[in-house]
């Protein structure tokens, strides 16, 4: 490829940027399309058509706006039961929460994975390798089996999972006060936390009665089945609050990619930004998986696939992998609901989809890490 003149190079660079923006737009369109398809899947009879889905979604919005007084007084679920037709109810009360949870969860997990891989400069970094998932699993198990919970009431499994999901990050950050917070130290500490929590979870399950054990099993595989309007609100809030600073700092993430010393010489406070982003990414992950259970692979695979297509520039990679993750999780969940008569947990499906897909990508890769 020969480039002559600065003007040419400039327009080439513009096109290069344009391609990345186009990819982001495609992932957004994809997410919306899959959301529509996901809304078609279910046992309601007669089946609701693709166009109808969007019409129903659109038509109910004014009803909600006009009756906000009733919703405030009686709750959104009561409002849906009173005011909506059968089809509207199926879409709004039964299917939409699951889809919205899927979108936010997929987006959040993918972006958390992107940020973790970015600060640690490691293609294997994900909520798993940093022990966050194992922490959440242990927290939930602790609440489900001996009933030991740090938060009481209806949310006690969720609260427990959330608190223990944050433990690994605090330990890693605490350690980095004694040892320099290098990516290697952080990953090794994360893996240590992973094994510790896994071990403790296994011990608890070993002594559990079968009923509890079954509940733990269901929690650990991860599902969107617990979606409701009540838990969409905290999930979407956490995702929105955490994504903004990550996008804001995406330029610093790029600088970190050049190596710690180079990043420092370019004016970035490396240790501080690493801790700061680790904390936000952990919060993001914990806020999602405490509601869904452990959904694996999205956080690892989505950033890699997007990096293959548009490269490593985090200013574009973060939104792209966010929407790609949303589309991926929704597809997996829709598949999980359609392939067999009973609904499979989406966590298991992402492994089945993600594993071979990842192997394929590793075989196809051009360079060491795309």
């Amino acid at each position: 490829m020969v480039i002559s003149g600065t003007e040419d190079l400039k327009s080439q660079y513009k096109r290069f940027i344009g391609r990345k923006i186009l990819f982001i737009l495609v992932t957004i369109a994809f997410t919306f399309a899959i959301a529509g398809i996901a809304a078609l899947v279910g046992s309601y009879y007669p089946p609701i058509s693709f166009v109808e889905v969007y019409t129903i979604i659109w038509q109910v919005i004014p009803k909600i706006v006009n009756n906000h007084g009733y919703i405030a007084a009686h709750g959104i679920d009561a409002f849906f039961r009173e005011y909506l037709t059968g089809k509207e109810f199926v879409i709004w009360e039964l299917r939409l929460p699951r889809i919205i949870l899927g979108v936010f969860a997929g987006m959040g997990l993918a972006i958390a994975g992107t940020a973790m891989q970015g600060i640690l400069r490691n293609p294997l970094a994900s909520p798993f390798t940093l022990g966050i998932s194992a922490g959440a699993g242990f927290g939930a198990t602790l609440a489900l089996i001996p009933g030991i919970a740090l938060v009481g009431g209806e949310y006690f499994v969720i609260g427990n999972a959330f608190i223990f999901a944050m433990v690994p990050s605090f330990v890693i950050i605490g350690l980095s006060r004694y040892r320099r917070a290098t990516p290697e130290t952080m990953i090794l500490a994360g893996i240590a936390m992973f094994y510790m929590f896994e071990g403790m979870t296994t011990l608890l399950r070993f002594s559990a009665i079968p009923e509890d054990e079954a509940e733990v099993f269901h929690w650990l595989v991860g599902t969107l089945g617990k979606a409701s309007w009540a838990n969409i609100i905290p999930v979407s809030a956490i995702v929105a609050i955490c994504i903004l600073p990550l996008i804001w700092k995406s330029w610093d993430l790029n600088v970190l990619g050049a190596g710690d010393e180079a990043a420092k010489s370019l004016g970035v406070n490396v240790e501080r930004i690493r801790v700061y982003i680790l904390l936000i990414a952990s919060l993001l992950t914990a806020g999602i998986i405490c509601f869904t259970g452990i959904i694996g692979f999205i956080g690892l695979v989505a950033p890699h696939i997007c990096r293959m297509v548009i490269g490593g520039d985090n200013r574009f990679l973060i939104p792209a992998s966010g929407f790609f993750g949303a589309a991926l999780l929704l597809s997996a969940d829709t598949l999980a609901r359609t392939i067999v008569a009973m609904v499979l947990p989406v966590g298991a499906v992402t492994y089945f989809l993600g594993g071979p897909l990842f192997l394929y990508l590793i075989l196809k890769r051009r360079r060491e890490f795309w």
Binding site: M1, V2, I3, T6, L9, K10, Q12, Y13, F16, Q117, G118, R121, N122, P123, W248, W251, D252, N254, V255, G257, A258, G259, D260, E261, A262, K264, S265, L266, G267, V268, N269, R307, G311, G312, D313, R315, R367, E368, F369, W370
Partner: protein, 259 residues
């Protein structure tokens, strides 16, 4: 005086000092070559000057200001650091890598002006044709030029080069050195370069700093520092010295016992 280092000391553990009582001065447009065996503290010295490592003792003054009082972002607009090799794991194009040099000037998004600056620098170094290539696909010599370009887009007053010619073939060694020399001359930048190749140091540096075990062993013009006695005492190598256009040319003969 652009840079003044006084009584600089650095250690990871007090029993094993890496830098001991370093004093040095650097004028505008001056190229200082730092030589010395492996482990003499050359790279550590550069890292302390750029505050990548924090000195345990001593002061570093840049244009009369203590660098401890300059915040990291502002320091990045004054000092450009060129590492020995990259540690880019994920893909990044040359353009985007060089754009990182604008970090001290950019908040969230890069502007048209930043992109102009990158293009200008790529052109200056004659590497525009690499702009959209992935940095990990380039040869060592090309990568070194990209790092120099990144440092130059910082618009620094001082460049720190850590072994810029190691791993390069002789053509790239000359190209990189000529390039450094040229930007120093044209842009009034000062530079400190840690370098293993004594002949390149002799040929391009205005002044030489010879280090041994964390201390300055000798300092001065290439011809006065790079003599057979100093090289034998510092490296434990016997050499033959020739004169090439007023600069010493060194031919290593054999390793000898330290005396």
């Amino acid at each position: 005086m652009r840079l003044k280092v006084q009584d600089l000391n650095f250690w990871y553990s007090p029993k094993m000092p890496i830098l001991r009582d370093i004093n040095l001065e650097l004028a505008e447009s001056e190229l200082l070559g730092v030589v010395g065996p492996n482990g003499a503290g050359k790279s550590t010295l550069l890292r302390c000057i750029d505050r990548i490592l924090i000195p345990r003792k001593g002061t570093i003054m840049l244009n009369g200001r203590d660098i401890r009082t300059i915040d990291r972002l502002e320091l990045a607009s004054k000092i450009g650091y060129i590492p020995q090799s990259g540690s880019q794991v994920f893909p990044a194009t040359v353009f985007d890598t060089v754009l990182l040099g604008r970090r001290p000037y950019i908040g969230w998004r890069s502007s048209e002006r930043d992109e102009e600056k990158v293009l200008e620098t790529l052109k200056l170094l004659n590497i525009e044709d690499l702009a959209l290539r992935d940095i990990n696909e380039l040869s060592g010599g090309q990568q070194q030029k990209v790092f120099i370009a990144r440092a130059l887009t910082q618009e620094p007053e001082l460049l720190l080069l850590d072994e810029p010619t190691s791993n390069l073939d002789i053509r790239h060694q000359l190209e990189v050195m000529e390039l450094v020399k040229r930007v120093i001359r044209e842009q009034g930048i000062s530079a400190i370069m840690a370098i293993h190749d004594l002949n390149l140091a002799a040929r391009y540096a205005d002044r030489i700093l010879m280090m041994k075990e964390g201390r300055i062993y000798a300092e001065g013009k290439p011809a006065s520092v790079l003599n057979a006695e100093n090289i034998r005492r510092v490296y434990g190598v016997e050499v033959e010295l020739n004169n090439h256009n007023g600069r010493p040319y060194i031919i290593p003969l054999r390793a000898v016992n330290w005396a």
